[in-house]
């Protein structure tokens, strides 16, 4: 597999799995606006995953659906940050904000790529991600504004920090550290990143559910 395909799959898997995690709030978010917001964000992320899988599929001679659903859980290239099941609001917001911040840094690098397909796709994704970032930052500000909110958010950020670092390659990490520390106005621990490729047990559970409809149908079924 080329480095290009490996990169496309890593980002596509991040977006697909996080899209799936975000969709878990559909119907049960704390209030209606957030139900709508997380559902819409999930839809965008899965749309990005589809486009990225299509680029990878063209090179591998397969299809986006096969890449999304027909691999074994161990073959996914997602970062463990997106795999965690965190149905608790402060942790959800912490993950959302950490991921979107890391993703912005990653997209900025991809937009400067000399591969026109990757640069073009990254630029289109970034237009949509701008709304995710505004949403995440609005929530971070809202939680930081109260004592309890701030305490719970900061605790969640500390817990997720090694995972957030694991989303990015070595050369992009310092920017994430700088941005996160600036927003929180404090230092974050200098810890080892949780690397890609070592999956959380929660990914296997998610995979079971995510692929169940497709696995239940005979091979070659038309959807």
């Amino acid at each position: 597999m080329s480095d290009r395909t490996d990169l496309l799959l890593a980002i596509a898997d991040d977006e697909l799995i996080l899209g799936w995690r975000n969709s878990e709030w559909t119907g049960i978010a704390p209030f209606l606006e957030e139900d709508v917001a997380f559902s819409s964000i999930a839809q965008n992320e899965i749309g990005h995953a589809r486009a990225l899988y299509e680029l990878a599929a063209a090179e591998l001679g397969t299809t986006a659906d096969e890449l999304a659903f027909d691999r074994e859980p161990g073959e996914y290239r997602s970062a463990p940050l997106v795999e965690l099941r965190r149905l608790e609001w402060a942790r959800t917001i912490a993950r959302h904000w950490l991921y979107e911040t890391a993703d912005e840094i990653r997209l900025a690098a991809l937009k400067a790529s000399d591969d026109p397909e990757i640069a073009g796709l990254a630029a289109k994704m970034d237009r949509e991600e701008a709304y995710h970032r505004m949403h995440a930052e609005m929530w971070v500000d809202r939680l930081l504004a109260t004592e309890e909110g701030s305490e719970r958010l900061q605790e969640a950020v500390d817990e997720l920090w090694p995972y957030a670092l694991g989303v990015l390659d070595d050369e992009l990490r310092p920017e994430l550290v700088a941005r996160a520390q600036e927003k929180l106005e404090r230092a974050l621990a200098d810890v080892e990143p949780v690397p890609r490729g070592v999956h959380e047990a929660e990914l296997a559970e998610l995979w079971e559910e995510m692929t169940s409809a497709r696995r239940s149908a005979p091979a070659g079924a038309q959807w």
Partner: protein, 176 residues
């Protein structure tokens, strides 16, 4: 056909003569599947049409990448082009070439008349939440005393706003 006729003849036998203008006119009759008051041509998502040897090539770009209307739009374009007697080759382009600034003036007016506030122009600098909190015009009463209720709405391309004058919630096309 006379030598001064610039219309291109396509194929042979039963096939009709299809021109680029015919294709644009046909595509202009396809409504957006989710906001049917506006056509896909008004929306600006059809980026180019070419006619070569009986095949109509259409370059097309989705509004939002997760938009489920994408496949519906593609099928509708193929069907309309088949009605013209040509085969369609729809190419989906995924880059930053589409912006809500590409929605035609007529399209923006149709959106407004249907109760959707049209998108604000794209800005060169980074899009900030504060820009979206400013008073956009209510499509019902025209007041600018409106506030952002939710960045996200019933489809990826819309936000929800509320008019403090006529006390109506309304949808606004997001700027992309």
């Amino acid at each position: 056909m006379g030598g001064d006729d610039l219309r291109q003849t396509l194929g042979t036998g039963w096939r009709a003569v299809v021109t680029v203008d015919d294709v644009w006119a046909a595509l202009a009759e396809i409504p957006d599947p989710e906001i049917p008051v506006i056509s896909i041509v008004d929306l600006g998502v059809v980026k180019g049409v070419e006619v070569t040897n009986g095949t109509v090539s259409v370059e097309f770009t989705p509004t939002f990448m997760g938009c489920p209307a994408l496949d519906t739009m593609r099928l509708a374009m193929e069907a309309r082009i088949a009605e013209l007697g040509a085969s369609a080759d729809i190419h989906v382009r995924l880059d930053d070439s589409w912006s809500t600034d590409d929605i035609t003036a007529e399209g923006r007016e149709k959106l407004r008349a249907a109760g959707f506030a049209p998108p604000a122009p794209r800005v060169a600098e980074k899009l900030e939440l504060v820009q979206l909190q400013r008073g956009f015009r209510c499509p019902y009463c025209g007041s600018t005393s409106t506030k952002l209720e939710n960045l996200f709405g019933p489809t990826p391309c819309r936000s929800i706003r509320y008019c403090e004058e006529c006390r109506q919630p309304f949808e606004q096309f997001k700027t992309i």
